[in-house]
Assembly symmetry: C2
């Protein structure tokens, strides 16, 4: 059921025309935003006819914007990247947590890979890594650090992708795999993981294996999260940095 | 001028109804995508009436999607993060490149800050840092590494932000400031930069100053880009990692 009372497009257009006239006379008025919930889809065409263009959309709304001044448009750009995480979870005996996925490009190939997933709206990278490991394997783990990350382009449509490879320390050990996405999950010796064709024959898994190997021998420092307060919004946010080097210096 | 011939909404609706009937009978058919350029804004309402919802939008188009199966929707999520860069550019004599911005929250406050900017669609983080330094100050510089990064949420609407602090080595030294965004640009002693109230009183600038200070004394390793080939798309992409630790191990 719609939570927005219907608005007739003709009524909306005359309101918009009057408002635009006013806004154009206001000194300092720059960008005008209209957020239209999907129930008001009938108002998109009138807004576009009055000079609005799209800014961004989510499943249930479209954000439109109109730039008033003749000077250069300084509107905030739309989000450009999806963010993913992978998790290197190693027991003290050197075994690593691996899964086989039911879907995706690896389906049915018998490849054992580290758990991976997508960072949700408003979620911290470190929390996403812990959540994905728990969801896919039932293992509780503590975030340690980001070992490396990859930036790639045009992963879907024109958007880009940032994938953060994280190291986690397991605090529980009994695997309870999730059925929807995961075919199998187990602890496997690191040597057996690295020996897979999939790791040896591809750049990224090979680099990650090399980094994990250096990390296992405590010869590698990644970036750890430090909680800070943002200067302007006064809200909490994480800064990721090489705390090992910073504290030793 | 429109590059898309007009389509009547009634004609579009009957085409769509027929196609949807067909797709629903096809085994394995999952997500159906419609990309509507802004000139075809009149077709959004008919598509929504047939069960499509929004996926994402850019200024000149709206992408709609309809999930056919009764099973869980596994559509790729929309982009969630904007990506920004800051540049620490230091000469051998210890002077750093700083600017005063014409706009933004620092306007008119006399604060000298490192050059910053937004990563463009499809642009590598390392290239964005070099481009922003060149655009704002005229200085040519070589990318060295990422020193740290910050993730923050709800920077604009519901979207998040990743800000990468980069170190660059200058290869030219005569400043030619850009007039549109930059009030002033200069080389300044690192000590003078750090002594500013703005740096001392806020978490992030203080952390960055501490990292830059450690970096200056070669006591800090960040993440450097390494060019790799993506396993699946066969395209080039950068992996950022602690190459100093990896090569010494």
């Amino acid at each position: 059921m719609s939570t927005h009372p219907p608005i007739h497009p003709i009524h909306f257009t005359s309101l918009l025309k009057a408002s635009l006239l006013q806004w154009k006379q206001q000194v300092g008025k720059k960008g005008v935003w209209i957020k239209l919930p999907i129930e008001l889809v009938n108002l998109i065409e009138p807004a576009v006819k009055e000079g609005f263009c799209y800014h961004h959309a989510e499943p249930d709304y479209l954000m439109l914007v109109h730039w008033i001044p003749v000077t250069n448009n300084t509107l905030p750009p739309n989000a450009s990247h999806r963010v993913g995480v992978g998790a290197f979870v190693m027991k003290e005996n050197g075994e690593v947590l691996v899964v086989q996925e039911k879907g995706g490009k690896m389906r049915g190939k018998g490849v054992w890979k580290f758990p991976t997933g997508v960072v949700e709206e408003g979620e911290d990278i470190c929390d996403a890594a812990v959540r994905e490991v728990k969801e896919e394997t039932g293992i509780d783990a503590k975030f340690v650090e980001i070992l490396a990350f990859r930036q790639s382009h045009k992963k879907f449509f024109e958007k880009s992708d940032l994938f953060f490879m994280c190291m986690l320390e397991p605090v529980s050990f009994d695997i309870q795999k999730q059925d929807r996405e995961i075919e199998a999950a187990q602890w496997m010796s690191f040597e057996e993981y690295v020996a897979q064709d999939f790791v040896q024959k591809h750049d990224l898994p090979r680099y990650i294996a090399e980094i994990c190997s250096a990390k296992r021998d405590e010869r590698y420092a990644g970036f750890s999260p430090v909680s800070t307060i943002s200067s302007f919004s006064k809200s909490q946010c994480n800064v990721y940095l090489n705390t090992a080097d910073l504290s030793s210096s």
